[in-house]
């Protein structure tokens, strides 16, 4: 794992990024109120307290997705992870949290670990998650009942695993986009951005 004092390997980087996604998605679900706040419990991670869901169905779903994502990160075949928030009544997409993943493929050939301290990666992740929490101040309120979905942009030639299927990109019509911070483990670079439907166009 990444407890090697020397540096970050591809496997370790994949695990770090998958862990970030797990906590990041939970934070977004909590902040946007997609699930009732009493179904979340506090945990300490990245030197800050984050919210994790206790709903078993949701947990299972997230574990499935994140474990598959970890494999793809290790193969460097994933390009983006998108969290789409849809309004149930009108089936309109209201928000899109997009995480672009740039993988340094040379790490696949050269298995030597790279020098980057875990602390600096964690600091970067912490600032990203803090920014995600702060964006809630200017995002429009989700007043109707909503549900979320996780989309993964992968290479075209990737074999589709069991229980996964192809889907559309679910792009928002007339959106405002905001680019957020990014972090890098020196093997994977994750850029975050959020797109939301313009309030006056609704």
């Amino acid at each position: 794992m990444t407890s090697t004092l020397k540096g970050i390997t591809l496997k370790g980087s994949a695990e770090l990024v998958a862990e970030f996604f797990s906590f990041g998605i939970n934070s977004i679900l909590y902040q946007r109120g997609l699930y009732p706040p009493e179904t979340f419990s506090r945990v300490a991670q990245y030197d800050m307290s984050l919210q994790l869901t206790t709903d078993t169905k949701l947990k299972n779903y997230l574990t499935n997705v994140v474990s598959q994502l970890k494999e793809w990160l290790f193969d460097c075949t994933v390009q983006k992870l998108v969290l789409v928030i849809t309004c149930l009544e009108t089936s309109e997409v209201l928000e899109r949290w997009q995480f672009d993943i740039e993988c340094d493929k040379s790490a696949k050939e050269i298995s030597a670990p790279r020098e980057k301290s875990i602390k600096s990666i964690q600091d970067e992740i912490r600032s990203v998650i803090r920014q995600i929490t702060a964006t809630v101040t200017f995002l429009p309120l989700l007043e109707t009942a909503c549900a979320f979905d996780l989309l993964v942009y992968t290479d075209k030639d990737l074999e589709v695993p069991d229980k996964w299927e192809e889907s559309g990109p679910q792009i928002i019509d007339q959106s405002e986009e905001v680019r957020l911070r990014s972090f890098t483990t020196s093997i994977h670079k994750v850029n975050s951005m959020v797109a939301y439907k313009r309030a006056d166009s609704a």
Partner: protein, 708 residues
């Protein structure tokens, strides 16, 4: 284009040159022109009088170029201004949006705060009420405790009395039992004594008889026997006296028995009274138990009160902390509105700072852009200046050469002038030879000078020719180059324009690409989008669809029921009662109305029955008393049938002719009335009394009947 214009103007003399290249006179014409330019007065050398049209044109062109540059700068500045305006408007819009959102947030937080305050006040009210209740309960508790204590005391006293009485009872019972035993014993004794007395009396009688017998028998032999029986008798007498004494004692003791009975009765009464008190005691004990339970409850309430007090303290502490916020933060906060106001102010300051930041960054960017533009301009201007410098240098060198030539020529002129003057001066003098030789020498000098000058001039000429040739070539090449340059510059400028356009397009496309990337677009050739099949959105949608279907079915069912209720009454309800669980129970109003209806109907029916009965009764009474059965045949027509009618059809018809039912009746003609003509005449026509007529008829019919 400005650079091209003067070059074009230059082209014209160059063209002249090229056109007349075979004609050498043109070269000379230019040289002549130069000479004429030089031969102008010296004062005008310093003035850079604009040579013919070309430099004038150049200056105009330069001025025009400057003007065009200024215009271009103005246009640029205007476009910059427009851009700035647009940016400013966008910023304003985003600023308004942010403000609205922040206001919303502020109002939400203010509302939450108000709610919290209300809740706080509610809690305080509740606390006060609880405190009041607690005080009341404590008062009642104390009262009840006092009552309890008093009751305890009474209970104790009663208990003591009961115990005493019990003790007394016991002792009295014991005494009673003892006395009873004694009485029994005494009675037994009395009985035995009575028995003994009776025995003794019998014995006495026996003995008396014996005595009598013995009295009859000679007394002789009796003395002995008598002596012994008197002793026995004396003994018996003594015994009897003892017995009598005992009997007297017994009788006195027996006389005490009624007293004992009285005492017994009294004790029994006291017993009964004590039993009642014992029952009361039991009741009191129950009451005390009840009170004890109440006391326990009160104590529990006290504990609860303690907890409530603790909570109240905590809440008050919280309130104080909230109130102290103002003091701790150093701001003038006393109410939650102040806090929200402060928050709003801080947020506004933050917004202003952000705005400032954005303006600064945008101005910085614009400044950088302008700097880049200016640098480009600077480079171009520098190159232009270098070119100008080179031109100037060439011109200066030409000027210097020309100046040198001018000097030489002036010197020549002076020399020639001197010669001429000398010649003129020498015309007046006589001696020529030294002068001649001098002149010859001078002439030789001058000749050599001129020859030198000539050679120099030839050299210069050749040089000039060469230069001219070179110039021609240069001009040609320059023309070619200029053409090429013009073309090239045109091309360059076109290419530069295109490049700028392409750069802008590139930027726009990059922005668009970035935007699309932000929005989530992808290249379908290289990428595909996957998601988990059992994702929350699809599951939520399914649930929603199912809910909607269920709701629709319910709505349809309810609509049908409503329709049936609106059209029918109780019947569809009965039919609907056989439906599934979606049938509604009939509403309370309907049930009440139905009940009312039923009662009304019952009432109606009962009234009808009562009326019927009464009417029947009345009719029979009328029939019996008046002797006529009155039937209403049609409107206002009444048929009277007598009791004593001979035939069933014998009836009198009366009609009500008066207004309303005021009773002015008229007799109608029937078969029966024809038989009664006399009575009709008498009673109706003469006496004008219908009752008399009727009674006459009755009497008549009665008489007929009875006689028959």
């Amino acid at each position: 284009m400005d650079i091209v214009a003067p070059v074009n103007k230059l082209q014209q003399p160059c063209k002249q040159l090229t056109m007349d290249i075979e004609d050498d006179t043109t070269v000379f014409s230019t040289l002549k022109s130069f000479k004429s330019f030089i031969s102008l007065p010296d004062t005008s050398r310093n003035q850079r009088e604009p040579a013919p049209v070309q430099s004038h044109v150049l200056q105009n062109q330069y001025l025009q170029r400057l003007q065009l540059l200024e215009a271009a700068e103005k246009v640029q500045s205007k476009t910059q201004l427009i851009q700035m305006d647009q940016e400013k408007r966008q910023m304003e819009i985003s600023h308004k949006r942010a403000r609205i959102e922040l206001e919303k947030n502020a109002t939400l937080s203010a509302r939450d705060f108000e709610r919290e305050v209300d809740r706080n006040q509610d809690l305080l009210g509740r606390i006060r009420r609880l405190e009041e209740r607690e005080a009341e309960s404590s008062q009642s508790l104390s009262e009840k405790a006092e009552a309890n204590r008093a009751l305890h005391r009474t209970l104790e006293s009663l208990n003591r009395r009961v115990e005493e009485r019990d003790g007394w009872l016991n002792t009295s019972n014991q005494t009673v039992s003892g006395l009873k035993d004694e009485i029994r014993d005494l009675k037994q004794q009395v009985q035995t004594r009575d028995n003994t007395i009776s025995n003794q009396t019998l014995e006495n009688q026996g003995l008396q008889e014996q005595v009598e017998l013995q009295h009859r028998i000679p007394l002789k032999g009796v003395c002995v026997c008598v002596s012994s029986p008197p002793k026995e008798l004396e003994r018996k007498l003594a015994l009897q006296e003892q017995d009598v004494v005992i009997v007297k004692n017994m009788r006195s003791e027996v006389a005490r028995v009624p007293d004992m009975d009285k005492e017994l009765r009294q004790l029994r009464e006291e017993n009964v009274y004590l039993r009642e008190t014992r029952e009361n005691v039991i009741l009191l004990k129950e009451e005390t138990e009840g009170l004890r339970r109440k006391v326990e409850r009160m104590e529990k309430m006290k504990e609860e009160m303690v907890n409530v007090e603790l909570e109240k303290e905590k809440l008050s502490q919280k309130l104080q902390a909230w109130e102290n916020l103002g003091q701790s933060t150093g701001l003038n906060i006393r109410t939650p509105e102040d806090l929200s106001r402060e928050v709003i102010q801080i947020q506004q300051r933050e917004i202003a700072v952000k705005q400032h930041n954005y303006t600064l960054t945008s101005s910085c960017r614009s400044v950088e852009r302008s700097k880049a533009d200016l640098q480009g301009e600077l480079l171009s201007l520098r190159s232009k200046s270098l070119e100008e410098q080179k031109k100037r240098e060439t011109q200066e060198s030409l000027v210097r050469r020309l100046q040198k030539r001018v000097l030489l020529l002036t010197k020549e002129r002076d020399g020639m002038r001197a010669i001429l003057e000398s010649y003129d001066s020498e015309l007046s003098s006589s001696d020529y030879t030294p002068q001649l030789s001098r002149r010859l020498r001078e002439a030789e000098d001058v000749l050599t000078k001129t020859q030198n000058h000539n050679t120099e001039m030839e050299v210069l000429l050749t040089k000039a020719q060469e230069e001219a040739g070179a110039l021609k070539l240069q001009v040609q090449t320059v023309r070619v180059c200029v053409c090429v340059c013009c073309v090239g510059r045109l091309k360059i400028e076109e290419l530069e324009g295109e490049r700028q356009r392409l750069e802008e397009q590139n930027n726009v496309l990059e922005l668009r690409l970035e935007r699309h990337n932000l929005q989530g677009d992808y290249n379908p050739v290289k990428t595909k989008v996957l998601h988990f099949s059992l994702n929350p959105t699809s599951m939520a949608k399914q649930q929603r669809v199912e809910e909607v279907e269920a709701l629709r079915a319910e709505v349809e069912c309810l609509r049908e029921r409503l329709r049936s209720l609106q059209t029918g009454g109780a019947i569809p309800l009965a039919a609907a009662a056989g439906e599934t669980s979606l049938s509604l129970p009939p509403s309370q109003e309907v049930l009440d109305l139905r009940k009312q209806m039923e009662t009304a109907e019952l009432k109606n029916q009962r009234l009808k029955e009562v009326f019927q009965r009464k009417i029947q009764e009345f009719r029979t009474v009328c029939y019996v008393l008046t002797g006529y059965q009155i039937d209403i045949t049609t409107e206002n027509q009444y048929r009277l049938t007598s009791v004593y009618a001979e035939h069933m059809d014998d009836s009198l018809l009366f009609k009500n002719t008066g207004p309303g039912s005021h009773g002015s009746m008229q007799l109608m003609e029937t078969d029966f009335s024809r038989t009664l003509r006399e009575m009709v005449d008498l009673h109706l026509h003469h006496q004008k009394s219908i009752p008399a007529f009727l009674s006459a008829v009755t009497l008549d019919l009665f008489s007929r009947q009875t006689t028959v």
